[in-house]
């Protein structure tokens, strides 16, 4: 294992890989990714892997638009032949209440102003796109045809191969045990395989980013909550877009393989890093799904699993340098959207490390906002 690095990145998920790739592309020579398990073994390999540009705040729209455009061109950017299976079947987002319907109308205006080609649909029009949807359950919907989903495992592989070809070193099955500092000066990281001296360290540990911040003795106001997903047996293609509802509390997509995969959120889910599965979820998810899409009730569930959302108080990420420890950077608190934001995460963190201005102003996503009462406007477009 190497003894020194220009930048040490903790976490071999999609965020860490993206940061490493962007830094390497910008010419940083000696980058080490340290992953305690294998690449994509955390939330990245457990997520729904959807990409959407339909958000309710301007910043979220801009961040996700950057990522969507990146994934559209990933093949050319990565210079490898790994198919990340970006299926742009759109996102159909259903409004469950009149209040939500009004919010969606505002969202559409904002999105269109930013160049996002979303449209407002009546329940009947939504039913034409997803025929097995019980349209009596929705008040209306929005649709953006450029939204879609990817294969998270292939995306990890594509990022990793691209990063490696630019000289990035990846250490799997290597666990960070401590952050080395001398007073306020960052020294590097200690792993179970040895120390790496590095003047710059990035905390991209996803669900475990709070533990890494504790090792560095810096404040990172995040917590991790379990979220579950279940998958059906594969069937013939019948649903092109991801269907999503916020008050309806569901996201459901049919992946190219033929399985439907779906998730919902539940405030009672544990926050102690456990990754177990619950029977309760199977039942509640089945109820939510079959109420909206009765025909899917015949489908059998073959698998369920869990992953961690790394949450912040305003459900938006933290992109910042730790005020207490210069050159220690946070890319954390994605609140369930780390996969879709990964390209922009790599961009803004790399720019920050290089002292350059990113394409999108993310200064409001600083780590101090939680202390100063500077929470961002609430984003209601989340499951």
């Amino acid at each position: 294992m190497q003894k020194t690095a220009d930048v040490a990145i903790i976490g071999g998920g999609i965020s860490g890989l993206s940061i490493a790739f962007q830094l390497a592309q910008a010419g940083v020579g000696n980058i080490a990714i340290i992953e305690k398990n294998f690449l994509g073994s955390g939330a990245t390999g457990r997520c729904g892997a959807g990409i959407r540009m339909q958000w309710g705040t301007e910043l979220n729209c801009l961040l996700s638009k950057y990522s969507c455009e990146f994934y559209e061109q990933a093949h050319e950017i990565f210079h490898n032949d790994i198919d990340i299976e970006f299926e742009q079947g759109g996102y159909l987002i259903g409004a469950g209440t009149d209040e939500e319907l009004e919010q969606f109308k505002q969202n559409i205006k904002l999105q269109n102003k930013l160049g996002i080609e979303s449209v407002f649909l009546s329940p009947e029009e939504a039913g034409e796109i997803v025929p097995h949807l019980d349209i009596r359950q929705i008040k209306g919907a929005t649709f953006c045809h450029r939204d879609g989903h990817l294969n998270p495992f292939r995306t990890v592989e594509a990022y990793a191969e691209a990063a490696k070809s630019l000289g990035v070193s990846i250490y799997e099955y290597t666990e960070v045990r401590d952050i080395l500092r001398d007073g306020n000066k960052l020294k590097g990281v200690r792993t179970d395989k040895g120390d790496i001296n590095a003047p710059v360290v990035v905390n991209a540990a996803g669900g475990y980013s709070g533990l890494i911040a504790d090792m560095a003795s810096v404040d990172l106001p995040v917590y991790s909550q379990r979220h579950q997903i279940m998958a059906t047996e594969p069937v013939e293609p019948m649903q092109e877009p991801m269907f999503m509802g916020f008050s309806l509390n569901i996201y459901i997509q049919q992946v190219p393989h033929g399985s439907f995969i779906m998730g919902r959120s539940d405030d009672s889910e544990p926050t102690d890093l456990r990754l177990t599965s619950s029977w309760h979820f199977l039942e509640e998810m089945s109820r939510t799904c079959t109420r909206l899409m009765p025909r899917l009730g015949q489908l059998k569930i073959v698998r369920q699993w869990a992953g961690l959302y790394n949450m912040t108080a305003d459900a938006q990420p933290i992109y910042d340098e730790a005020p207490e420890l210069p050159s220690f950077y946070h890319a954390a608190g994605f609140s369930g959207h780390g996969f879709m934001l990964a390209p922009v995460t790599g961009h803004v963190i790399a720019k920050r490390i290089l002292g350059e201005k990113p394409d999108i102003d993310v200064s409001s996503l600083n780590v101090s906002r939680f202390k100063e009462g500077g929470l961002l406007p609430t984003e209601s477009s989340v499951v």
Binding site: E283, E284, Q298, Q304, W305
Partner: protein, 276 residues
């Protein structure tokens, strides 16, 4: 949660522990031939139970139950052994005087040996034991498996579980490691259609665990949740690394253990809600 598999689950080899409750007492052994059922898979399968004319296999409450023999009723007639699709039933006869007994084995290879042939008796793991004489052959056909009886020393009646015809040995592949993949790569994961060559390619590219291979190939993600492919992938990983299977984690096990429709799941929840 990572779980280590027993020898039976890992390599399909039954141990004395697994056979507890499957063998008769001394009195029943002397009475005449009897069936030994080495079935450990709780799958929907019951030809043995319904074929027995003596009600000597305990009735199932559920079609997934495992069969157990009532040795006071079993006559060793071998009807069950001829219909077991898993070739998991053997007929043992140690009722005669002297040191020798017979073991009757289901046999699906060609050529079918004839009475008087010398064959090589083999143990559960396929290892060679000793030459043995064929004393009886019941031909197969019409859905029934051929049975071959060998004369073996009584102390080996619970050891011999297969045999090979010596002249044929060179042409019989006995493990995946010896298969010639140039012809056709055998399927490892039937649910997701993943073949052995794909698994070996991934291992050659540095994928080190069952879970990594699952992520990349989908092997083990299907309805059976890796019940067969997991063991094959583990043995391929072990073979590549040149270490024992036990060095490897068995990988994640995902619920539900059997596919369940969402209608059924949703209904359960509604009943709970009404009851509470």
């Amino acid at each position: 949660m990572k779980t280590k598999l027993s020898l039976l689950k890992r390599e399909g080899l039954a141990t004395a522990d697994d056979l507890r409750g499957r063998l008769p007492g001394e009195d029943d052994k002397k009475r005449g031939p009897y069936a030994v059922i080495e079935c450990f898979e709780e799958i929907p399968c019951n030809p043995c139970v319904v074929s027995c004319r003596f009600n000597a296999i305990l009735p199932f409450k559920d079609i997934n139950d495992l069969p157990y023999v009532d040795f006071s009723a079993c006559t060793g007639c071998a009807v069950c052994a001829r219909v077991c699709p898993g070739l998991a039933i053997f007929i043992v006869d140690e009722s005669m005087d002297g040191d020798m007994g017979t073991i009757t084995l289901p046999y699906e290879y060609l050529p079918l040996p004839e009475k008087g042939w010398q064959v090589l008796a083999r143990a559960r793991d396929g290892s060679a034991l000793f030459p043995a004489t064929v004393v009886r052959v019941m031909k197969g056909g019409k859905g029934k498996t051929a049975l071959v009886s060998l004369e073996v020393p009584k102390e080996y009646l619970q050891e011999v579980r297969s045999f090979t015809v010596p002249e044929e040995e060179d042409s019989v592949p006995c493990s995946c490691a010896e298969l010639d993949l140039a012809e056709e790569s055998p399927t490892v994961c039937r649910c997701e259609g993943v073949d052995l060559q794909e698994i070996r390619d991934l291992i050659a590219r540095g994928y080190k665990t069952v879970d990594e291979i699952k992520h990349r190939s989908r092997a083990g993600m299907g309805p059976c949740q890796g019940r067969s492919c997991r063991q094959i992938i583990l043995s391929e990983l072990a073979r590549d690394a040149g270490v024992s299977l036990e060095e490897f984690e068995a990988g994640s096990f995902r619920p539900p253990t059997t596919p369940v429709s969402m209608d059924v799941l949703a209904k359960g929840s509604e009943e709970d809600a009404e009851n509470s």
